[in-house]
Structures are given as C-alpha cells and as structure tokens.
C-alpha cells in the first residue's frame, strides 16, 4: 500500500516538475485565437452582443465567457464559421437576423447636435455643431448606434438596396410545374 502511494506520488512529482519546467521554458505570449475570431466577426462595432465592439467580443469568446451566437450582423453564417473554428456546436442566433442596413439622416430635420457623430463607431457621419450632418453611406456599417442618441429622431435605418454593382446571380432552382 505504502509503495503504491509512494510510486504514484513519485510519478506525480516527476511529471508535475516536467510540466512546470516546460510551462516556464515554452511560455508563449498572446492569443492568436482572438485575431482569428475577430476576423470572422463583421466589424460593425454595434455592441449588440453586449460587448463594446467586435474585438472585446472576440476576446470574450476565446476566453469562453461568451457564446458564439450573440452577433446578429454576422448572421447564422457567422455562427457557423465560429463553430467550425472553435469546434463548438452550432446554435441558433440569439436575436433576429436582419438584412444589411445603412443609416440615413433626414437632413431637413437635423438640428446639428453632433450626438450621432459622437456615437458613430467608425466615423461615418460628417457634420459640425449647428450644421447639417450626413452619413457617408459607403462607410456605414448599419450598427444603429446613432439612432437612439438623436433628439429629433431624424435618423432611420434602411436596408441596402440591390444595385447592378452588388447584384448577385441567384442559386439555380428547378422550377416546379403543375402537372395537369
């Protein structure tokens, strides 16, 4: 009995020492996983996941604090890719999936308060105090962060319209025809 305990203890000590030594000798800084997760996230910086931006969310996922299905702009496809990367189960999205949107300022109503400029995470709103503001559409990520601060409710979200430049060929479908 005593030998058994001794031998197991000896084994544990040897292996523990080896691992401890290795963890000091082979210490690696940084977490490459965060960058990989961050690359999958859509970078809208909208905070709908409950974290202040995409990077903090990526960090939370990598630490295992956050689930992978909290990003509505990424959609189900984003969840799928995160699941593939992390080897986790695919889960349905927490919130509703929306089509891609852009914010539009009604320039007649805008009073030039600059509140939306301060809210925009990607500096996509141009304007100055008491001057009309407008949104640079190509830079807008559709995060909706500018909508609540507006005191006169002049910002609305509109789905991105299909144009010739972003039009996509559709998936070929077989038309079902009525028989008789």
């Amino acid at each position: 009995m005593l030998t058994a305990i001794l031998i197991m203890a000896l084994g544990a000590v040897v292996l523990g020492a080896a691992l401890g030594y290795a963890s000091i000798k082979f210490k690696v800084e940084g977490d490459p996983l965060v960058d990989k997760i961050d690359a999958i996230l859509p970078q809208t910086q909208c905070g709908q996941c409950g974290y202040p931006g995409c990077k903090p969310y990526a960090e939370a996922i990598s630490k295992g604090e956050a689930d992978i299905n909290l990003c509505p702009p990424g959609g189900m496809e984003g969840v799928q890719r995160l699941a593939d990367l992390l080897g986790r189960e695919v889960k349905p999205l927490e919130a509703e999936e929306k089509p891609k949107q852009v914010a539009i300022i009604d320039e007649q109503t805008c009073i030039g308060c600059t509140l939306c400029i301060q809210a925009c995470p990607v500096d996509a709103i141009v304007g100055a105090a008491k001057q009309m503001h407008t949104i640079v559409e190509s830079l807008c990520t559709g995060c909706e962060l500018c909508v609540p601060p507006c005191p006169v409710e002049c910002i609305r979200m509109e789905p991105v319209a299909e144009t010739i430049d972003n039009w996509k060929w559709k998936y070929p479908v077989i038309e079902l025809k009525k028989v008789a």
Binding site: A128, A129, L139, P172
Partner: protein
C-alpha cells in the same frame, strides 16, 4: 503557311449564321428616344456632363471617363436631354442604372469633328483620345481599349492578335463588318500596331467566313501591311481571347496571368474599326453593328445608335407572333434582355426567341459524373467538380478548382447529358465569392476606422487633460506672481500649498497631476524662452505680408489675431474645420 495549334475541348453547335448574312448592313432609323447608360464599360462609372434640358449635339461627350480604367460616353444624335435618371439596363439583373435620356431633334447634327494624324501625336495622347472617344472592346467584354494599348515594360510585345473569329452561333456582325469595311478595320489595326509595336500581327477568322477572310486579305494587301490573315478551324469558343491566342500562337495563358505577360495582346475587329473612326474621323463610339436574328421575318445586321430601346430596334426585323423574349449576345453566353432596356456598346446580337427556337429546358437530372463537361471545357477545368462544390456552396473548394478561370462559355452546359445548367452554378458561385470579398473589405475598413477612432479619443482625452493641467498651472503661477511683492505672503503661500494638499486628501492625485503638468509647463516655457519662435525667423518681406493679412482680417472683423477664437462653438471659421476633422479617414 503559319502552323496552327489546337485548344482543348470546345463544341460545335449549329451555327445558324446564314439567315442574317443575306443582306448588307443597314443603318437603323432614328429612334423616338435614346437611353444611354453612363456605365457602359468595365471600370469607373463616367460622371454626367450634361443636365436635363440641355441641348446636345451628335457625338457630344455626355459622360467623362472616371479614372484610367473607364471610358467616355457620347450623345448618339443631336437633341434635348430629357432626364438623367435610373433606367433599366441591358444586364441580366434587370436593375436600373444611371442613364441619360435624349429626345432626338431629327437633325442629326454633329459636333465639330477633328480628324487627326495619330502618327504625329505622342502615344499617350492617342490613348487619351481613344478613352475620350469611348473606344471599348466591342467583342462583348467592353474593357476600355486604351488601357490595353500600353506595351508592357518587362515583356517584349510579340504578337498582336485581332479577333474576327466570331464563334458564337447566330452572330454575324463582325463577319459583315469585315466584308464591307475591311479597309477601315485594317487601318484601325494599324493604329494598334503602331502603339504596341508587336513583332507580328495575326488576324484570326473562323474558316466558315471565307468572304470575310478574302476581304481582309485584299484590304491588307491594298494597304501594303504585313498582317497575316489566318482562317482558323470553326469550333466554339475559338473566339475566346485565350483560345484564339492559343490557336494562333501556341501560347497558353496560365491561370491568374494575362496575355500581356506572354507578350500577346488581343483586340476585336469591331474595336479596331471604331478606333480608326475615332482617330481619323473624330467620330466617337455612338453606334455599332448589331445582328438582329432568330424568330424574325427579316434577319439582318443593322448599324444602330447606342441607346436605342430594344422594342424599337426589334420592330425593324418584324418579330414573328410567337416571339417570347429577346436574347442579348449569342445562345451560348447571352442572357434574356429586359424588354425596356436600351442597346449598349456590348450588344453584338439580339436573338428573338420562340418556344420552337429555344425549347424550354428539360428538368435538371442528377450528375452522373460522365466527364463530358471536362472533355468539352476549353480551359481544362473540371466542371463536374466545380458543380459539386458550387451546388453545396462550398466556395473555398470551388476556388481550389480554379472557378475564376472559367470563362462561362457554356460548353459544359451544352454537352451535359443531365441538362445541368452548370454555368449558372458557376456564375452564382463567382458572384457569391465577390460579395464575400466586398464584405470582408468593408469589415476591414470598419475595423481600421474603429481602431483609429479609439486612438483619436484616447489622444483627445490626453490632450484635454494636459490643457486642464496647464490651466491649473497657469492659475498657480498667477497666484505666485500676486504673492511675490509681499515676502511674508510668499512664505505663506508656500505653507499654503501643502496645507491645501493636506486639507483635501481625496484630491491628492489630481494635485499631483497638476504638479507634474506645472513642471512640464515650466520646462516648456524655458524651452520656448531659449528658442526663437518661428515667426521671428521670417524675412522682413514675409513679416510684412503677415501684418497685411492680419490687417485685412481685422477690417473684415473675422477675428483678432492673438485672441483665442475657439471659445464659441458655432464660430463660422471653426465649423468647417470641425467638419473636415469628422471626415478624416
């Protein structure tokens, strides 16, 4: 005789070219209105140069090229601009694009045309002229021609290939152009030759057009050129640029490389013709030859103005009653044209369809992996593998199988015994991959902007803290200055400072910061005292100028120099500055 090479794959569909060859090219009558899309070439969308209500002349530029890879657009006839608005485009999506709508006045009045002798001009200005004349590849790709006319600096230009193959069934516009206007085509090729200086010029024409070959040979001889006119075997898609280059030169353009990397450049015959018209007659590209064929009473070729509405054009051929749609391009690569779209530079052929001519496709059957598509593929791809992955939306795999080398020629769909619309799957996969790349790019921009914004906020916070500290230090200095006259008061102040610190222990940190800031401020003042200010180092003339400017400002009452102006938020000169800061990338 030149040795010809073969390209792999290809098919031999029924050519159906004879009906439209019966009659010579006719000039189409002026339509009631013209819809000229501004974006008619690969590259940047030209900016409109006119406004609704303007009167335009025939050949007047209405859209200026936007950047180098872009091409100008011109008014096809004289008349009034009714509107510059979104109009349905000649595009498979049927979506609108910004177009200029012109009501012709019937006078067909030209702008001043200035023919030039291109030989006396620098090559750069010839290229610019071609761009401003809207010369683009008329084979269907509408790539701006001037951008292809710069010889590579690293690879010597060996062959200039002129594409008159016209391999798609039904289409005969290039055939008739070469028969009737071979002289001008050859002169146009001369321009390209002089710009690129290739060792050889090869004109490839499919051997089912003996008249065109003969006409071109005669024209080449008559003009004393040394171009080789070569009849190539008829086999679809011999008119694909890479296939024709392969047949004529034996050079195979590898994946992800362009023919220029191998010292070969390829142009369509119609492009050469328009280039000659543009240079030697000063006529921009405002019309083109379009084959109208298929289910019509009078199939023939028409020289038609760009922007002619489809409905008015097809009426010329008297479509038969059972016509159920119009195809733009050939039956292999063409697409169903939206019924109210206009004809554009890319329109080489309009085929009226009918249930008998193009019977509805039988339903798709499962792929049996027979490999016929791989045998037919002129690019030696494996369409059945591409299909497998495109259908499963496994886009990474489709790229591994080189989906972007697919030219969408339609050979695979043509031979498929299961009638699978393979090209449709490939187009779907390609546009899906492009969309993803766009999204990725947008995400990257958003990320850098977000990071920059965070960085800027941090910096502003730091700057603000510094300013506050400075102000605190200034106040302290003032106090000190006040206290100086009275010696004992100074001692009192010194005693005061620690007392104040002791009195407000919660503010200890702030006080410490202020002390550090004050020290920094003192250091700065010392530095400033030691160094002359940059205005003092100016010459007397410059100082006088500055004084004058200041005086003018004072007169205008904008601001008084020396006084801080940033106190009022809505201060007029400050506002644009703030705006520009927000717009900073």
């Amino acid at each position: 005789m030149l040795q010809l090479f073969k390209f792999r794959g290809g098919v031999k569909p029924q050519t159906n070219k004879t009906p439209s060859l019966g009659e010579p090219i006719a000039v189409a009558p002026l339509p009631t209105r013209l819809i000229v899309p501004l974006h008619q070439s690969i590259g940047g969308t030209p900016d409109p140069l006119i406004a609704p209500g303007d009167r335009v002349l025939k050949g007047q530029r209405i859209g200026g090229a936007d950047g180098w890879i872009s091409s100008a657009v011109h008014a096809p006839t004289s008349g009034t601009v009714l509107a510059v608005e979104e109009h349905v485009a000649a595009h498979p999506s049927g979506l609108p694009t910004l177009s200029v709508i012109i009501e012709p006045d019937g006078r067909d009045e030209w702008i001043a045309r200035t023919p030039v002798d291109y030989r006396s001009l620098a090559p750069e200005s010839v290229r610019e002229m071609l761009r401003d004349a809207g010369v683009v590849g008329l084979g269907g790709a509408v790539f701006p021609s001037h951008a292809k006319l710069t010889a590579s600096k690293t690879v010597p230009m060996e062959e200039l290939v002129i594409n008159g193959a016209e391999c798609e069934p039904f289409i005969t516009c290039d055939d008739l152009l070469m028969r009737e206007r071979a002289d001008e085509v050859v002169r146009g090729i001369g321009i390209f030759r002089d710009l690129l200086r290739p060792q050889r010029v090869l004109i490839g024409i499919e051997d089912n057009k003996p008249e065109a070959v003969a006409a071109m040979k005669t024209a080449v001889q008559a003009l004393g050129e040394n171009f080789e006119v070569i009849a190539v075997p008829t086999r679809y898609p011999a008119g694909g640029a890479k296939q024709l280059i392969r047949v004529l030169t034996g050079k195979e353009v590898p994946a992800a490389k362009r023919s220029t990397d191998l010292g070969v450049q390829c142009f369509n015959v119609a492009t050469a013709y328009t280039a000659w018209r543009a240079i030697a007659h000063g006529e921009p590209v405002i019309s083109r030859i379009v084959t109208l064929t298929g289910n019509v009473e009078r199939p023939r070729n028409w020289e038609v103005l760009i922007g002619t509405p489809l409905a008015e054009f097809v009426a010329l051929g008297q479509p038969k009653p059972d016509t159920n749609g119009y195809l733009m391009g050939g039956p292999m690569m063409g697409f169903e044209m939206p019924s109210d779209a206009p004809l554009v530079k890319a329109t080489n052929c309009i085929i009226a369809g009918s249930p008998t001519l193009f019977p509805p496709k039988a339903p798709e059957m499962p792929c049996i992996r027979c490999g016929e598509c791989a045998k037919a593929c002129p690019h030696e791809l494996q369409p059945f593998e591409l299909y497998w992955f495109a259908r499963a939306k496994n886009f990474g795999k489709t790229q591994e199988y080189h989906i972007f080398d697919c030219i969408e020629c339609g050979c695979c769909s043509y031979v498929c015994p299961s009638r699978i619309p393979l090209v449709q799957y490939f187009r779907f996969a390609k546009s899906e991959i492009w969309a993803r790349e766009r999204e990725k790019k947008a995400a990257d921009t958003a990320k850098t902007r977000f990071e920059f914004r965070n960085f800027r906020e941090e910096r502003e916070k730091a700057e603000k803290a510094e300013r506050l500290a400075k102000a605190a230090a200034a106040k302290a200095a003032e106090k000190k200055a006040e206290a100086k006259p009275a010696a004992e008061a100074a001692a009192g102040a010194l005693a005061d400072a620690p007392a104040a610190q002791a009195a407000a222990p919660t503010d200890a940190e702030a006080a410490k910061k202020a002390a550090i800031a004050a020290a920094m401020e003192r250091a700065r003042q010392q530095r400033e005292a030691a160094q002359p200010k940059n205005t003092e180092a100016l010459t007397p003339v410059q100082q006088r100028d500055i004084a004058e400017v200041d005086a003018r400002r004072r007169q205008a009452g904008i601001e008084t120099p020396g006084e801080p102006s940033g106190t009022a938020d809505a201060n007029a000169p400050a506002a644009p500055a703030a705006g520009s800061e927000e717009a900073r990338p």
